[in-house]
């Protein structure tokens, strides 16, 4: 019986590339704990720049993992981000894949 090959991250087809980015992974992890979050809160938690944060959130939105709502509160614009059901599922699948890969790496 052939031994399973140890994979490097560049050869990991099971890891979702949309989630694998550090900031996107951090954002999804943060959003998984709250119902919805303001852009400013996400920025404070990740210490990311406005431009980078906006770009990564847009990628998550395009993938359907995050829903955006823009509104005005006391005449101030507020952007709220919420994790979608498919985002939650994608994160769960990612964690599962990560654990399997780590397990196989330890066993190999």
């Amino acid at each position: 019986m052939p031994e399973p090959e140890t994979e490097t991250t560049s050869e990991l087809p099971d890891l979702n590339p949309v989630i694998h980015g550090k900031l996107r992974l951090a954002l999804l992890s943060l959003l998984s704990t709250v119902e919805e979050a303001e852009f400013t809160w996400l920025r404070a938690k990740t210490s990311a720049t406005d431009g980078n944060l906006g770009a990564q959130l847009q990628k998550l939105e395009e993938a359907g993992y995050v829903a955006v709502e823009k509104k005005f509160v006391l005449r101030k614009p507020q952007t709220l981000y919420r994790m979608t059901q498919s985002g939650r599922q994608a994160l769960a699948d990612y964690v599962q894949a990560l654990k399997q890969l780590l397990g196989s790496a330890i066993n190999s």
């Binding site: 550090k22 704990t33 303001e38 990740t46 210490s47 990311a48 980078n52």
Partner: protein, 218 residues
């Protein structure tokens, strides 16, 4: 061969770092930046103020008697309630508001529901003349015990569980003590479970908030 091992090691480290990042961010998300310790102190001071104002010019034993001192409790409670809303609004100006979590909503729902029940029950029973001081303390203490106990179980916060035990003991003691003893027991419980516990909560929150999350880059 060596380079294969090195590549595997790098990959393993990267995967572990990703897993660690998820754990860190989940912990960050759950960490509330709101401060609640001060509310315990506020309500503790409000209870003491109500007792003191209810007793101006009267023996300490009569502080729940309805009459001209009857407004002491409703006024103190309403003032504390208003401060609860005004202070956070002023303090959170120009700061990102902390988002709702399921745990946070569960906790404040319990406290709000308990507050409404206590206010209505005490106001109605006081007005109907069916409330004496021991019963008053027993009701307040048991409601506070229940809410503190539920909150401590949700938050897995042992110190709050101890407060619940003190409140339960106060509720039971109120049924057996005379009026003066009952007042002293009530004041001791307020001091321990509201003022001391609140101050402890404020110190803990300050320590937690001082810990800043590391920067995450794409």
């Amino acid at each position: 061969m060596t380079s294969d091992f090195e590549a595997d090691d790098v990959a393993r480290q990267e995967l572990t770092a990703r897993l660690s990042l998820i754990e860190t961010m989940i912990a960050e998300g759950r960490q509330k930046t709101e401060s609640w310790g001060w509310t315990f102190v506020l309500w503790g001071v409000a209870y003491v103020a109500a007792i003191v104002f209810g007793n101006l010019g009267a023996p300490i034993a009569e502080w729940t008697t309805f009459g001209h001192r009857a407004l002491a409790w409703p006024v103190s409670m309403i003032a504390a309630m208003m401060l609860m809303f005004v202070y956070p609004a002023l303090a959170s100006r120009n700061k990102p508001s902390s988002p709702d979590t399921a745990i946070g909503r569960a906790i404040y729902s319990m406290w709000i529901a308990m507050g409404i029940s206590m206010f209505l029950l005490l106001l109605a029973s006081g007005n109907s003349g069916r409330l004496d001081q021991q019963l008053f303390v027993a009701i307040v203490a048991s409601m506070l015990a229940t809410t503190n106990a539920a909150s401590s179980m949700i938050l897995k916060w042992r110190q709050q569980g101890l407060c619940a035990i003190v409140w339960w003991a106060t509720a039971v003691a109120a049924c057996f003590c005379n009026v003066t003893q009952c007042t002293l027991v009530f004041l001791a419980a307020i001091f321990l479970c509201q003022i001391v516990f609140g101050a402890y909560g404020m110190i803990s929150e300050r320590k937690t908030m001082a810990r800043k999350p590391g920067a995450v880059h794409a």
